[in-house]
Symmetry: C2
Subunit: 181 residues, 2 copies
């Protein structure tokens, strides 16, 4: 793996998590897609702990087989950080990108984001890594490793491996042109 | 829906169900994908009855939200017959295409197929339609409307709307090259 800059991703300066925009039709450009269980940020840690761990793909049609049932799923292009998640991957849906603990980027604004975390890597290992943690009664949040270490937190719900931004607002036909450039 | 011929589908002569081959990367060519619950043919009717009915897509990321959890899912290009399935769609995975009750086609051979059925249309309505039915202890099968009517069966598990064939055989490395061309 390239340790990941998703295709078309802006890697925010000083942040080790790739941030990519999901283009309409992109689920498209990759011949391989990843299907991951989704949790809502406001559901707290319970959902992240409960979401299926194994979501392997089976047979010629790539049928996704999870070890348990789950209601919410998302299909993503199989970007490098996602493709590497053989087990333990989970997606948390945040209504507002401002939950991200960095402010260096101009796109920092009110938009929904998906945060992909690897539950197989719970240890708060890197100061400049980002981790999914419970935020008391408010649900879930993404926190910087250095901040967690500063308050003595050694274990998270998972290491953040990718942030996905929504498709740009535009009419369908405009998006179609971009997709196929 | 146009009751449909899937894009790129061979419509088998005299058969009203489109048969399409899933090309590698095609989940791709469509900007929109459909995610449907999957049942194994050998699981009998129980699974088809139990699989989630509502699998709507929500928000900018198209998160699939089912009314209940399910373990097996497949991502398909949003071909016309599939796109029209707002609720009640289900996919049955057969290990061998020879279960199909027609023999006019030269590709009639041992290959896995997915049969997409609409559980919202259970009535055995058309003589030349195809229906998903229980096959005693053997699991599920696809049967022609005229045959079912002939034995007095008026209700099926669902009307077959599409048959999907697997991608053509090729080595993984060949596929990879194709992917990124």
């Amino acid at each position: 793996g390239e340790g990941g800059e998703g295709e078309g991703g802006d890697v925010v300066e000083g942040v080790r998590v790739p941030v990519v925009r999901l283009n309409v039709g992109e689920v498209a450009e990759a011949t391989v897609v990843a299907v991951l269980p989704v949790c809502k940020a406001e559901e707290k840690e319970k959902e992240v702990l409960e979401a299926p761990w194994e979501c392997g793909s089976e047979g010629e049609f790539g049928v996704v087989v999870a070890e348990k049932g789950w209601r919410r799923w998302v299909v993503l292009p199989s970007w490098e950080p996602v493709a590497g998640l053989k087990r333990g991957g989970v997606v948390v849906e945040f209504a507002d990108a401002r939950v991200l603990p960095w402010r260096v980027n101009r796109w920092y604004k009110e938009e929904a984001i998906l945060v992909v975390a690897d539950r197989g890597r719970k240890a708060v290992a890197a100061d400049d890594g980002f981790y999914m943690v419970a935020d008391g009664e408010k649900g879930l949040k993404v926190e910087r490793g250095s901040v967690l270490k500063g308050i003595g937190v050694e274990e998270s719900l998972g290491t953040v491996v990718l942030v996905v931004r929504p498709p740009r607002e535009a009419t369908d036909s405009q998006l179609d042109e971009e997709d196929w450039e």
